[in-house]
């Protein structure tokens, strides 16, 4: 879907361990986003990128960092995972922002922190 690949698709890890999720796109879109989806909260923005090496925080950025060294890859890192970070994580891309430029999503990574 829309040339977005998230990896891994599923991961189980322990509290305190570092975790990195990868989003890879083949669309050459400028913008990339990381969201988390939890019951009762809907999709919440963690971080986003508006170009190579250009990133900014979203609504729920605490405990997460991101990097974008290439147009096609956007990495999300949990430096020291906590149980509250158990969630489904979605990557999205868009050509631009706002009017007429919708975000397109990958199929998600289900992350469990034990």
């Amino acid at each position: 879907d829309a040339g977005i690949t998230q990896s891994p698709r599923h991961k189980v890890t322990e509290t305190g361990t570092p975790v990195t999720l990868r989003c890879h796109q083949t669309e050459n879109h400028r913008y990339m986003y990381w969201y988390r989806q939890d019951p009762g909260h809907g999709l919440r923005l963690i971080h986003y990128s508006y170009g190579v090496k250009d990133t900014d925080k979203g609504e729920v950025s605490d405990g997460y960092s991101v990097s974008r060294s290439k147009t096609e890859d956007f990495l999300l890192t949990l430096e020291s995972a906590t149980s509250s970070q158990t969630s489904v994580y979605f990557c999205a891309i868009s050509q631009g922002q706002g009017l007429g430029q919708p975000q397109h999503f990958g199929d998600g990574t289900r992350l469990s922190i034990l």
């Binding site: 913008y31 999709l43 923005l45 922002q97």
Partner: protein, 113 residues
Amino acid sequence: GESVGLHLPTLSVQEGDNSIINCAYSNSASDYFIWYKQESGKGPQFIIDIRSNMDKRQGQRVTVLLNKTVKHLSLQIAATQPGDSAVYFCAENRVGSQGNLIFGKGTKLSVKP
């Protein structure tokens, strides 16, 4: 606080009937709205969008209506099919939010054969 919300968390319709999914928003400065469909185990899929200077927009079997007076958005699905069963989200782009979307919590649509 201001948020995008949904009137009904679940909606059950008969196959072949029309479906209407509603969404209320509270920020009158929002200038762009999107509907997404999410099937189990998958990411949200773009359905249709509408700008705030429009009242209605049609796609294939779907129509989005925007009523800015009462800050209400609806998605109409014609001749609902079993494949339409999913969770539907509305999202808004608020002016000044740097293009970042605010998502509602979703409505689950179940289609009975």
